[in-house]
């Protein structure tokens, strides 16, 4: 197996592991459009990186983190239509990113690699960045799991009981931004949310507790990444779509395998 494929496999597995618990939170909090908006703004980050000469990974992280902070702040503003607001930020940043990238075409940027992922793209330096991001998210999730869960179950109850609800929400949003930056090269900006949502939903069909769901989602996400990368390598298909197709097949299988709890209740 060539070295670049090893890079993709290791990076993909790390991303898959952390996509399980983070994806579960996104499903529980119905934040999928929020994840989409962050992912779309990643392309604007790439474009700004190209313009300013900042390394693309760092530029994406900064851009996503700023958008995450803005979205958490705007969430509390009841005057704004949240749904439209997310759509406006998502699509305008994607469009602006595409326009800016096409201006700097001399740098021979492969747009489809950013949009759909590329197994050739993961370098040794990327591996270190991704590992760092995954460890940071993992430690935070481990340390604050119960508090994040309490905020997810009932934010107001959590606030009355003295939890810093706003900070916890911000932490969650920044972790999603970190994951978007880490997963972008493998899955591509257009399909990152799918890697968060689909494995978590598959796990939701099987799980009996929140922790159980997060672990199953990690396994499903990692498996999807590995199967998708294998297929992408052997059949020369784009990496991101191959991964998402694998995740979707697993999801369909869990629909038939799951306990009847949700349907009965």
């Amino acid at each position: 197996m060539p070295e670049f494929l090893w890079h993709a496999v290791i990076a993909g597995s790390m991303v898959g592991m952390i996509a399980g618990p983070l994806g579960s939170y996104i499903v529980w909090q119905r934040m999928s459009f929020f994840g989409d908006t962050l992912a779309h703004s990643a392309l604007l980050g790439i474009a700004l990186g190209l313009l300013s000469g900042v390394a693309s990974g760092l530029a994406v992280l900064i851009c996503c983190a700023l958008v995450a902070v803005a979205l958490v702040y705007l969430r509390g503003q009841s005057r704004l239509n949240q749904d439209s607001l997310l759509a406006i930020i998502a699509h305008s940043s994607l469009a602006l990113g595409l326009v800016v990238v096409s201006f700097s075409a001399k740098n021979s940027v492969d747009l489809s690699a950013f949009l759909f992922g590329d197994i050739l793209a993961v370098t040794r330096a990327d591996l270190i960045t991704i590992a760092t991001s995954v460890v940071i998210c993992g430690v935070i999730l481990w340390r604050y799991w119960n508090k994040l869960l309490a905020v997810t179950v009932h934010p107001e109850l959590a606030e009355v009981e003295g939890l810093p609800v706003h900070s916890l929400r911000l932490t969650l949003a920044l972790m999603v931004a970190l994951l978007v930056a880490a997963a972008m090269k493998i899955v591509g900006v257009l399909l990152i949310t799918a890697l968060l949502i689909i494995p978590a939903s598959s796990a939701g069909n099987l799980a009996r507790s929140p922790e159980h769901m997060a672990i199953i989602a990690s396994v499903v996400a990692t498996l999807s990444v590995l199967v998708g990368l294998g297929f992408s390598w052997s059949a020369d298909t784009p990496a991101g779509p191959s991964i998402v197709v694998a995740a979707t097949l697993i999801f369909v299988a869990t629909l038939f395998a799951g306990p009847a709890k949700n349907r009965a209740g």
Partner: protein, 247 residues
């Protein structure tokens, strides 16, 4: 009696619409205070302001130091995709002083411990939410429509239970209710709210108050004291106060 929480001149507006206007309210230890009023009167908003959930409220809110609040929200917004048992839900409480088993036993919901939260009926959920509030052995228990989704017999039990909890913990209780008969029978102090405090006092006094009669309509009048005197304002279609012009 020691005062637990007090608000003075509390006002709140959202999107340019007044929801609360110059509300004064005091809750003391060992006292059950009921908030009644029509839909849109601002009952839930008042509770949210007292709990510190509405940052833009104006006026003063004074809490006794180290006040421990147990809050029972009106409903659970949890997504059904979150697999959570009743026991796990109770273990999420911050700084509990009692065990989940004791709290469930007190609210008569022990048999629900391993049930999925999303599969509970309205009445079962109310008992579980009350247990969560009790875990903290609160000084002040705040209940947003505790009897919602509970059948009539169950409502009487629930109010009796709230009375027992008050006796055991010596806590103050603030609750919102729609059922006037139950409120009148089981409350120390009634506050009739319609954006402002229309009238307040002992249940028997309030039930004879013209402001109360006006808010709750003619059908209440037959069972209670006849309309005795005029009061100084009316309400328009939005419930806003209109001062009566003399002459």
């Amino acid at each position: 009696m020691s005062q637990l929480i007090q608000c003075h001149n509390l006002s709140f507006a959202a999107a340019g619409r007044t929801i609360l206007q110059n509300v004064d309210l005091t809750i003391s230890a060992g006292e059950i205070v009921s908030l009644i009023g029509p839909n849109g009167a601002g009952k839930t908003t008042l509770i949210r302001c007292l709990l510190g959930l509405e940052a833009t409220a104006s006026g003063t809110i004074t809490r006794s130091p180290e006040l421990r609040v147990g809050y029972m929200p009106q409903r659970l917004q949890t997504d059904p995709s979150l697999p959570l048992t009743v026991m796990r839900f109770l273990k999420l409480a911050e700084q509990p002083r009692d065990t989940p088993a004791n709290a469930l036993a007190e609210t008569g919901a022990m048999h629900l411990a391993e049930r999925a939260l999303s599969a509970l009926s309205g009445g079962e959920l109310q008992r579980v939410l009350l247990a969560r509030a009790l875990l903290r052995e609160p000084d002040l228990l705040v209940l947003d429509e505790p009897a919602q989704g509970v059948d009539i017999g169950g409502q009487e039990d629930l109010y009796r239970l709230i009375g027992k909890i008050r006796d055991r913990l010596g806590c103050g209780v603030l609750l919102i209710s729609h059922d006037l008969h139950l409120v009148m029978a089981s409350t120390d102090h009634v506050v009739c709210l319609n954006q402002h405090v229309c009238c307040h006092g002992h249940p028997q006094m309030v039930s004879a108050d013209p402001a109360y009669l006006e808010l709750f309509g003619e059908h209440q009048r037959a069972a209670l004291v006849p309309y005795a005197h005029h009061h100084d304002h009316d309400h328009d279609a939005h419930g806003d106060v209109i001062k009566k012009t003399t002459g």
